[in-house]
Amino acid sequence: MDEQAVHRAVARMARELVEQNEGPGNLALLGIQRRGVQITDLIRSEIERAEGVSVPMGSLDITLYRDDLMAIGPRPVVGATVLPEGGVDEKAVVIVDDVLFTGRTVRAALDELMDFGRPARVSLCVLVDRGEREFPIQPNVVGKIMTVLSGQAVEVSVPDHDGRWGVDIVPHSSEAEG
């Protein structure tokens, strides 16, 4: 996916989110660090453009909720967790990430979210669903479904980290996916 394709997909995802949640009024977006946060930003400006409403957003770093920390050792850089303005209680919270793969990141994000309050509902929005789930977790809104061979990985590029928007299938690299 090139930049234009990402923007088109995100515009549609924003519309679907608003539709599924009966308008943007009760929405709160929560991006998973790091690339999910930039996608959340883009979704938020799409909603603002279409609906004229500025939706509260926050970020979630799930490092401390992972199930494999003791197996792989801690990551030195833990990102910031910032709640959306107004918190998550009674909100229609949308968890946003770049790639949905095994579902473990989302499991961790749900656990962390529950420690912050009691949302009215939680939905999941991802730019890419690459399948091969290890947990019973399904997205509500998907940008693109991709089939990936073993030995390959999906790499999502965002301007803040990679200088551009894009989604590519690459040989398996050190970059982790969600």
């Binding site: 801690p74 030195p76 833990v78 982790a176």
Partner: protein, 323 residues
């Protein structure tokens, strides 16, 4: 997100052996942990199932409680042991105490001990991670780390800053850890205190020695005022506390001569009216309570980084993980 982990080693005995990069890793890791203590539910599950023993052979409120909060906020199970009320009073040796604890399957030991070198001694003899919470007059690494975090919060850097440690340098493990850590990070360090309370050979560490506090105040960006460790002084170090306060005490009047506003740190507990006056301790430039807040975050970072397992796991981390 997947940077290779900078391995700290099994234990944190002191800052002397750490590189600038390792120290910065701890400080950077402490940043996100600050926010956890501001949450409504002040707990993350990262150390769930780990058992940590706080082995305190010396009196301590701040450090012990700070470690305990850090452990509990990371979901570890903790046990506190103090020398009074333990088998230590029956004559059990340090190693025997630790081995018996290990036999109950623990993962980490936080130790505070009156003898210099106790933490290293223990670290070499048990497989659990050992964290030094102060050993004699050797080092108190987590205190220096929280001091540096507080300085960095204020100035957004450490390199190039002028930090002066004031007072009882001789008995101070806080001073030693600060000197090693600050020099590693490129700060200029000075000490200032009465000759009887300066250890021999301080200048060889690469620190400036001021013999008058007025000179230190003219020079420094930060004053770290140390506690006069009256319990470690048998005799002859000082003529009187009143004289000490007049000559070496940090007072409002002395600070008014400073060319710029100085940041004032104190590791606590304070002897008000001796090494620091109340109007300075409660003044706008004192970071003393900020230090205490940062202490919990720094200790969470150290526990988190040490709990990660063996060095070879760093290699696995480099390979990347699919989650």
């Amino acid at each position: 997100m997947n940077q290779p982990r900078l391995y700290l080693g099994k234990d944190l005995v002191g800052l002397e052996s750490l590189s600038a990069e390792q120290i910065l890793t701890i400080l950077d890791t402490a940043e996100p942990f600050k926010e956890i203590s501001e949450r409504r539910i002040k707990k993350v599950p990262v150390l769930r199932g780990k058992t940590i023993v706080n082995l305190f052979f010396e009196a301590s409120t701040r450090t012990r409680v700070s470690f305990e909060f850090a452990e509990k906020r990371l979901s570890a199970d903790t046990v506190n042991i103090s020398s009074s009320g333990s088998s230590v009073v029956k004559g059990e040796t340090l190693v025997d105490t630790a081995r018996n604890l290990e036999a109950m399957r623990i993962d980490m030991v936080v130790i505070r001990h009156g003898s210099s070198g106790a933490a290293k001694f223990l670290a070499e003899r048990i497989p659990s991670n050992v964290i030094n919470a102060g050993d004699g007059s050797h080092e108190h690494p987590t205190q220096a780390l929280l001091d540096m975090l507080t300085i960095r919060d204020h100035f957004a850097r450490i390199e190039g800053l002028k930090v002066c440690l004031v007072g009882d340098i001789l008995h101070s493990r806080v001073a030693r850890s600060n000197i090693y850590g600050l020099l590693a990070l490129g700060a200029e360090v000075a000490v200032c205190g009465p000759k009887t309370l300066l250890p021999l050979g301080t200048a060889e560490l690469g620190v400036t020695v001021f013999s008058r506090i007025e000179e230190a105040i003219q020079w420094a960006d930060v004053l770290n005022v140390l506690r006069l460790q009256l319990e470690r002084m048998e005799a002859g170090f000082l003529p009187s506390l009143r004289e000490y306060n007049q000559v070496w005490g940090v007072t409002r009047a002395k600070l008014e001569e400073a060319p710029n506003d100085l940041l004032i740190l104190h590791p606590g507990p304070m002897n008000r009216g001796v090494e620091i006056d109340s109007d300075v301790a409660d003044g706008p430039h004192a970071m003393i309570l900020q230090q205490v807040t940062n202490g919990v975050a720094v200790r969470m970072a150290v526990l988190y980084l040490l709990a990660g397992g063996a060095p070879d796991t760093a290699e696995v981390a480099k390979e990347g993980v699919e989650v």
